[in-house]
Symmetry: C2
Subunit: 349 residues, 2 copies
DNA sequence: GTGAGTAGCTAGAGCGCTCTAGTCGTCTTC
DNA sequence: GAAGACGACTAGAGCGCTCTAGCTACTCAC
């Protein structure tokens, strides 16, 4: 009873039981060629019988490569969670393992990154990284770095993100196609991508011949910001449609509209941004712009792996290294909050 | 340029530069006694200068203990995220590091647990574990296991969770105190804790002398389930108040109520369960029952550490081991969706 | 002056793996 | 039948740390 949990078996134990060398067991366990089918079976059986489980600390230490992909993320951010899920899914088929290091209120990103370095990850993937450019550069000197979901200043890191301008234009074109002309943009304020989205909105309106209709309403990235904007909009007279900085803000808009008797989409069309979980809620069904977290994740893993392999490849003839930055085209997800301007004349599809 | 990222410095490198032994540098880096203040400073300086960073793989392998706490969680679950944050916060002061292993759509809990074992964690903490009792028992034979947020069948694992019966009673007592009598429970269907909450509801109603008012409306754990229930409620005639299985279901209820012109809380009071992020949204302000993820996390870490230390302590005189299960009392969070039955006579506080 | 105690340091044996450089026996090839 | 190739296996040197045991020089009590 005092030995409730005994020391886990090692390669040595398996080797002894099988009457072969440690090295051979290692070969069998790793599934590499170099053992006869017969011994392979026997060793595998004994290993299973003993409950042998490779010790990843030792394995990592002894191997010349760790095949570890470090990922930092904010635990409470659903978008980060989606990307992280995608990274797991994309990394395993390529033979890489993922080390998650969370950024929380008691654990800043510097600490999270430190952990990745201590584990000797081969690359660091920073989701929505809140890292100072200087620190980013410094990190990039130690291992390949991929920033996911945001632009980054540093020329030494890879970036995988969605094109804000394109996303906004998709939304505007959709609304214009539905016959709307007075399309207001609810701004994101100080939030990361808001400048890009605001500029994208202006350009898209201009392109649609609606330069005279350009109207940016101050906002932010929370539901409350959206709700405030909605109240001002109602007071000032409703436009045809609204393009919100993000889904959260759009949810605030919708809430106020519903409570004030403004029907969406009969009275006004609303488009969000992000295609977060909330946009898909059956009672919300928000039309929005999707950043496709899964694809972002896939590309981010590709970037990371490419950098790793360039680095470990022979340095003599430098392989052509692809672009530092991959910008994805977001796409429009049409749900129930947008509709043609005058249902009577245009029909609702 | 071919050596863009050079091999990170080791203890050996620092020792050579400082003209001392590896062991002494180790002593300094770990901050344990055994070095003079003078050498300590010098070594630390050189280490910083070289950019030395301990290799956790080697450290883990060499030490007799890993001081690692393994945590499995569903990445996209906000409640899990809250608990994980709490675990990080509680573990570090005790000198334990956290290894996160995510459960995703491409990575089941067995795989997640496997990873924890390969890292030789000293305990496994399973948040909202979807693990078969048999597998749980098997796991518990290998290391201490703490299940967080859910009851568990196995007598060999620790459990830290909130008391559903108490939570429901708090909600009912609150509503009764506000003068409500016709209080309907929207059921959770097949969801984990729904039986406990349903029974708690019945008991609490009985206790309040409202046995004749007991009414359980079928539901589930999503917004849609809540919305369906709301529609049926409106058709059948509104009760005084509703206690929902969880916040998500309550959000569905609120949405339908608002759209149908039912005023909350004037016409009906609504109480959710979980105190998830959504309940706190400024435009929702849902009265709900909080499970206090932070405290759950703290207690879970305490359980884990206690088991670890009992195990590593001398097995001769078994230390008294506390209860396997800690059940926390949830508490009521009063927000804007509950109100006294008749504001005119009772006042709203 | 001797022995004990102590602070500050080092040597060296692991930890559980991977990987290189073999060895040994059997099969081909001309 | 000698040379070479190949498949199956082993020995042993690390990987970068921690930890025990021991060594040296210095202090102090008696």
């Amino acid at each position: 009873m005092s030995d409730e949990f005994s020391r886990p078996p090692t390669l040595e134990d398996v080797a002894a039981r099988a009457g072969v060398s440690r090295a051979l067991v290692s070969i069998v366990i790793r599934g590499v060629p170099g053992a006869s089918e017969q011994t392979r079976q026997r060793v595998l059986e004994i290993a299973a019988d003993l409950g042998y489980r490779p010790d990843s600390r030792a394995r990592l230490l002894a191997g010349r490569r760790s095949r570890l992909l470090g990922v930092t993320m904010a635990l409470n951010n659903p978008f980060h969670a989606d990307v992280a899920e995608g990274i797991y899914a994309a990394a395993e088929p390529l033979g890489y393992q993922v080390v998650l290091s969370a950024v929380t209120s008691t654990r800043d990103s510097a600490r999270a990154i430190e952990t990745l370095l201590e584990y000797r990850c081969e690359a660091a993937m920073l989701i929505g990284a809140l890292v100072r450019p200087r620190a980013l550069d410094e990190l990039a000197q130690q291992l390949p770095v991929v920033v996911v979901g945001q632009p980054a200043r540093s020329p030494h890191v890879d970036v995988v993100r969605a094109a804000d301008g394109v996303g906004v234009r998709l939304a505007i074109d959709h609304l214009v196609g539905l016959g709307h002309r007075r399309i207001v943009h609810i701004d994101g304020g100080k939030a990361p991508a808001s400048t890009a989205r605001r500029n994208g909105y202006r350009a898209a309106m201009q392109r649609a011949g609606l330069a005279d209709q350009i109207a940016v309403e101050p906002g932010g990235d929370t539901e409350e910001d959206g709700a405030d904007a909605a109240r001002r909009l109602i007071e000032a007279g409703l436009p045809d449609a609204v393009l919100s900085y993000n889904d959260r803000s759009a949810v605030g808009l919708l809430d106020v509209f519903v409570r004030q008797g403004v029907d969406v989409p009969d009275d006004i069309s609303v488009v969000g941004y992000d295609d977060s979980q909330v946009a898909r809620l059956p009672y919300l069904r928000l039309t929005t712009i999707s950043q496709d977290a899964t694809q972002l994740a896939e590309l981010a893993v590709q970037h990371a792996v490419r950098r790793i392999e360039v680095r470990s490849g022979d340095g003599s003839v430098a392989r052509p290294v692809a672009d530092r930055e991959t910008v994805l085209a977001p796409h429009l997800v049409i749900r129930a909050t947008t509709q043609a301007r005058s249902p009577r004349t245009t029909g609702t599809r």
